[in-house]
């Protein structure tokens, strides 16, 4: 039941494609002090392409969750291509956002956060962020954002026209030793897929530094209970 041509911007086909573009944006520009969320889709259309994929053209706005309600909205446009292959393959995204380069106001905070935790005796370890009641300490916020950015790599990779991922919770964060001037963090994250309503658990190893940004080194899907279902793809 696919729609082609102009799409209703508030309905799910456009929204899912926009969310994929958001995951892409966060993998490239996310940091402990910057995570983008979808504010609004302004215009959207879709068309079938050769080799059986579907390409979405989107015009949308995003906000930076880290800048609270004060943050301005950024205007973006994206082409999101969902391939049609036997086995699932990741969507392809081309993205342009205005004024992205001008956002370097977080450089100081990033540097301070990096210096604080790159010391040899830093051994951050925490569970359930936020907790069941939605509480998250100030100290944990940058780690939550890092997890959200790292999770974006997985969410981007796993997305299709039939999924809509968010990160439900950081089950755990454990700082690892690192010899490479990168913060090394092992996360266990819970992802929520809206259409299937499934909670999918992934363990991942990510590195971050102000210079190199977030990189995801390993990912491992984890069952949540003895007979858990596999991820949607």
């Amino acid at each position: 039941m696919a729609s082609t041509g102009d799409l209703e911007p508030t309905h799910y086909p456009a929204r899912r494609a926009a969310q994929v573009a958001l995951h892409y944006l966060n993998t490239h520009h996310g940091s402990p002090f910057r995570v983008f969320g979808l504010q609004q889709v302004h215009k959207a259309s879709a068309e079938d392409v050769e080799a059986g994929g579907r390409k979405y053209k989107l015009d949308f706005s995003v906000t930076d969750w880290a800048s609270g309600s004060a943050g301005p909205a950024l205007r973006c446009s994206a082409d999101v291509l969902f391939p049609r292959t036997e086995r699932h393959s990741a969507p392809d995204v081309k993205l342009r956002c205005e004024a992205l380069q001008q956002i370097n106001r977080t450089a100081q905070e990033e540097e301070a956060f990096y210096q604080k935790h790159i010391t040899p005796d830093s051994a951050v370890s925490a569970r359930d962020i936020p907790d069941s009641y939605g509480n998250m300490s100030e100290e944990m916020q940058p780690f939550w954002r890092l997890a959200r950015v790292a999770a974006s790599f997985i969410m981007l990779r796993e997305s299709s026209e039939n999924t809509e991922f968010n990160m439900a919770q950081v089950a755990s964060v454990t700082q690892q030793e690192s010899s490479e001037e990168q913060l090394m963090l092992e996360f266990v994250v819970l992802l929520h897929d809206l259409p299937s309503q499934e909670i999918v658990q992934w363990k991942l190893l990510a590195s971050w530094s102000p210079d190199r940004g977030v990189r995801v080194l390993q990912t491992e899907w984890q069952p949540r209970c003895p007979h858990a279902t596999k991820p949607p793809n």
Partner: protein, 417 residues
């Protein structure tokens, strides 16, 4: 200068009281040893200063709690000597009030619904006692009905708000998916809102003088208990599935209309498992029986989270509902009311076009029963916190949702059928 300071402080101290209202905590960053020496000379006792971090070395900040009556003098002193500082705590009493509220939260037994803490998430016991207190305090307006028992034997309770007999009714349910904690939290606030506004707000009073309101705060108590004891992310009921180690049925895929279609799963391990048969879940059957035996429900509002949407039938088919135009326009109005309060953006439309195809859902059945104003809400947020919505959003969410509920109830009242 110092003499003036002492005189001022003495004068004001005579009129001081024991409260921390207006007191501030300043963080002073002395620039050199001379400034540290100056700080040490401040008359602590007279000014009522309480050092959290005393002046010692230049490299360390000086944190000081300054009573309100000494603030002007201290700030003048710092300005005169050009000692940099900033305000760390704007009003100490506010902080103490917050702490007091936090402590009250952990009080096991609020004595009344005025004592109840609406700004936190509660467990089953606490919600049950809230309902009993509300009924006891408003027995001429509110009663509690048991419409059935859950799989694990818990009471399925509905609050009935009624000012007369044989009235048509409006139904609201929350908590049918147990991990959606913001929904019962909003319902609790709304229940209190109803008893507060009856007799005060003309629109609500008029509605209640003509319609009953039925509010089922925890439609899935087994699941809800499980989210507290075992798995915060549990969605379904807790009924075992024969032949499977996976437990539970999605209570919003278990309804008759569209049952078993592709918008639900036939896998017991799935979050959207429709169950072995239509209305197989006692939690669902109880509502079905209630609706049928009441016979005069005119609006049915089933509240979920998250996504910030107001949805009308159908979920199982893209054929538009007969009343689509009216339902769409009413949704537009309700969403506009909601947004007017905190600027929260909602999307609206039919289930199948707006969120996803879903088969065997509540409102498709209630609509087919003839309850025209059948809507599903998806409350805050849009995925940032998702199910783990911070408690400080409970009241804003409840307040804005209430405006949408009122819009729908008012329209129902003004358009009898």
């Amino acid at each position: 200068m110092r003499g003036l300071l002492v005189l001022t402080a003495l004068f004001v101290a005579v009129f001081g009281k024991v409260t921390f209202e207006g007191d501030q905590v300043l963080r002073i960053t002395a620039q050199d040893a001379k400034q540290i020496a100056l700080l040490k000379e401040l008359p602590e006792e007279i000014l009522g200063l309480d050092y959290w971090m005393s002046p010692s070395r230049v490299s360390l900040p000086v944190d000081v709690h300054v009573p309100f009556h000494s603030l002007q003098a201290v700030r003048a002193f710092l300005a005169y000597h050009q000692i940099p500082y900033h305000v760390m705590i704007e009003n100490v009493q506010d902080l103490l009030d917050d702490e007091q509220r936090e402590m009250v939260k952990y009080r096991s037994f609020p004595r009344s619904t005025d004592d109840f803490v609406y700004t936190t998430y509660h467990d089953l016991n606490s919600i049950n006692s809230f309902m009993d207190m509300l009924v006891a305090e408003n027995s001429n307006l509110v009663s509690k009905i048991e419409i059935g028992k859950s799989y694990e034997g818990r009471s399925l309770d509905v609050l009935k708000f009624s000012t007369g007999a044989n009235r048509p009714g409006i139904w609201i349910d929350t908590g049918i998916h147990s991990r959606e904690w913001i929904t019962p939290a909003s319902a609790i606030w709304s229940a209190k809102k109803i008893v507060t506004d009856y007799g005060r707000d003309p629109v609500l009073t008029d509605i209640l003088n003509n319609y009953d309101i039925f509010l089922e705060i925890i439609a899935n108590p087994d699941g809800f208990a499980y989210t507290h004891s075992n798995d915060r992310m549990w969605r379904k009921t807790r009924k075992p599935n024969p032949g499977s180690s996976c437990v539970g049925v999605d209570p919003n895929r278990n309804w008759e209309v569209g049952f078993g279609g592709s918008g639900a799963s036939s896998n017991p391990c799935s979050q959207t498992y429709h169950g072995p048969s239509i209305h197989s879940e006692p939690e669902v059957k109880a509502i079905v029986d209630f609706v049928k035996s009441h016979g005069k429900l005119k609006a049915f509002l089933s509240i979920h989270s998250y996504s910030q949407m107001l949805l009308y039938p159908y979920g199982y088919t893209s054929t538009p509902a007969k009343d689509q135009a009216e339902l769409h326009e009413l949704a537009r109005k309700a969403v506009s009311e909601l947004q007017s309060l905190h600027n929260t953006a909602y999307t609206y439309g039919s289930v199948i076009t707006t969120i996803y195809q879903a088969d065997g859902i509540t409102i498709d059945w209630t609509y087919e029963q003839g309850i025209k104003y059948s809507y599903t809400f998806e409350l805050r947020d849009t995925g940032r916190y998702g199910f783990l919505l911070p408690a400080d959003q409970i009241i804003p969410t409840a307040e804005e949702t209430w405006l949408a509920l009122m819009a729908i109830m008012e329209h129902t009242r003004n358009n009898p059928y």
